[in-house]
Amino acid sequence: MEITIHRAGMLSTVQDLGRRGHRAAGVPLSGAMDRFALRVGNLLVGNEQGAAAIETTLMGPEVEFSADAVVAVTGATFDGVPAWQPFFVRAGERLRLGNPVKGCRGYLVVAGGIQVPPALGSRSTFVRAGLGGLEGRALREGDHLPAGESPRRLAPHWRIDERILPRYAAAATVRVVRGPQADEFGGRLAKSEFRVLPQSDRMGVRLGGSRLLRIGRADEMVSAAVAPGTVQVPPDGLPIVLMADAQTIGGYPQAANVIGVDLPIIAQARPGDRLRFEEIPLTEAQQLFLARERVLAMLQQGLKEKVVAE
């Protein structure tokens, strides 16, 4: 099966759950910005949670399928397109994702997954190094993407339990655990309101609206590893939340780290959206992490009878 890209949208790339084991070589994790949405999308069409899909950014693409397929769109929601629900598309049918009604990044997931060749163990596109995806780049008009052949049967009349879906909002509170230099900002992170700046990308979501200035004169730091979710603060005081394509090491002070289960909220924030931070203990963050994994395991179990291979 092949997916033809008729319109590429703003930034559409192939993503899976990223490249593990190569950070020591400076290769970032990459993968879906909203990992939860990709994992749920894959489960909805009967795939493994980490199969590759198309990640869209704001304006989505228009695509055509060469064969009948079961697909799902998760993450951002689009007018006229079923959200968080598998549906059939016919051979030759076009699916258009315009501007999302809600959220920033959509996941167009197809049963059988996008089958570009893996690079360093992942199909994720890392544009900066030309790695993975389709020729290491964002999708363009006229591209043909190989996808798996996997006929699926769907049980009728069911919906995913909406209580498990994240609450993407234009004014969100994101939970963080303390960073090593949290004290140098005198607790300002949790007391300020920020706005998402348009310069945000897959490397980092840039924040404005408030500045975090260091108290006193601190020494230059020697670089150490950073992670998706690290809130680093350059000398201008405008925080950057590092995301999927972030560099592997960094030398800016770290005010906090966004907890794993709340990172999708940042991934779905649009330029101009407001964000606040709330500090929680690490123990609680890890409990939330485990609870989220239990939800996904239950969903996987529950979907076994709803989405069946033919």
Binding site: A25, L120, R128, A129, V177, A224, T248, N257, F289
Partner: protein, 232 residues
């Protein structure tokens, strides 16, 4: 050795401070000890300067009665405690020696003259001293395969550009403050560019994609434009 959480899925093990060869020896010994028999649930180990960061899956790390962060901290501490004297000695001296051919100056090193002026010497002297150095890889990062090299002669320390170039050619050799390094890919960059190598520092099709590892020793050797052109 101090351990601190980097979010909910990583732990940073600090083994000292600053850019220091003895600290780097401890970093390398711990990295090797963790790589030898990977701990279950560990997904990535990243050495850099004075730290080793271990990325883990909290789900796999959540064993009966033990919280994920406590468990990974205990496992890493146990592993660090078992590093033998032999390994400590081995990692106290550099790893492999890698020679990097460089065309210095001209269009390949657009900042060479400015660096020379800043250092109060002739461009030829900068080239001579840069080649004479014995460098150690303290970290890999920024972009895939980018090496941060310690050991630059203090006479060659030059601050980074206040405004980075929007695009630096792949293979560019630069000086950033007290460090020197090579840009493996076309990226923005603020270091002073003194030359360029034809060597690929990042090879995406290789199972070990970065040419250099933390702890490797690097020597630079001046080559002609002809040699650069013929490099395979």
């Amino acid at each position: 050795m101090t351990l601190s959480a980097l979010g909910d899925s990583a732990v940073v093990i600090a083994l000292g401070e600053g850019i220091d060869e003895q600290v780097l020896a401890r970093v390398r010994a711990l990295t090797a000890a963790l790589a030898q028999e990977p701990l279950p649930g560990v997904v990535d180990v990243v050495p850099a300067y004075a730290t080793v960061t271990v990325f883990y899956d909290p789900l796999e790390m959540a064993a009966a009665g033990e919280r994920p962060f406590e468990r990974i901290s205990r496992l890493v501490t146990e592993r660090a405690g078992r590093i033998e004297a032999g390994a400590k000695k081995k990692y106290a001296s550099p790893g492999r020696t890698i020679e990097i051919p460089v065309v210095y100056g001209g269009e390949f090193g657009p900042d060479l003259d400015a660096v020379a002026r800043h250092c109060g010497m002739e461009p030829g002297e900068v080239i001579k001293r840069h080649q004479a150095g014995d460098y150690l890889v303290h970290a890999i990062g920024f972009v895939p395969g980018f090496c941060y090299l310690g050991g630059l002669a203090p006479a060659l320390h030059v601050p980074r550009h206040a405004t980075p170039r929007p695009s630096v050619a792949a293979g560019s050799v630069g000086i950033g403050g007290a460090q020197t390094g090579v840009y493996p890919l076309v990226t923005p960059g603020g270091w002073n560019l003194i030359g360029r190598t034809p060597l690929a520092l990042f090879r995406p099709n290789d199972p070990e994609p970065a040419l250099l590892r933390v702890g490797d020793r690097v020597k630079f050797r001046a080559v002609s434009r002809e040699e650069f052109g013929q490099w395979k």
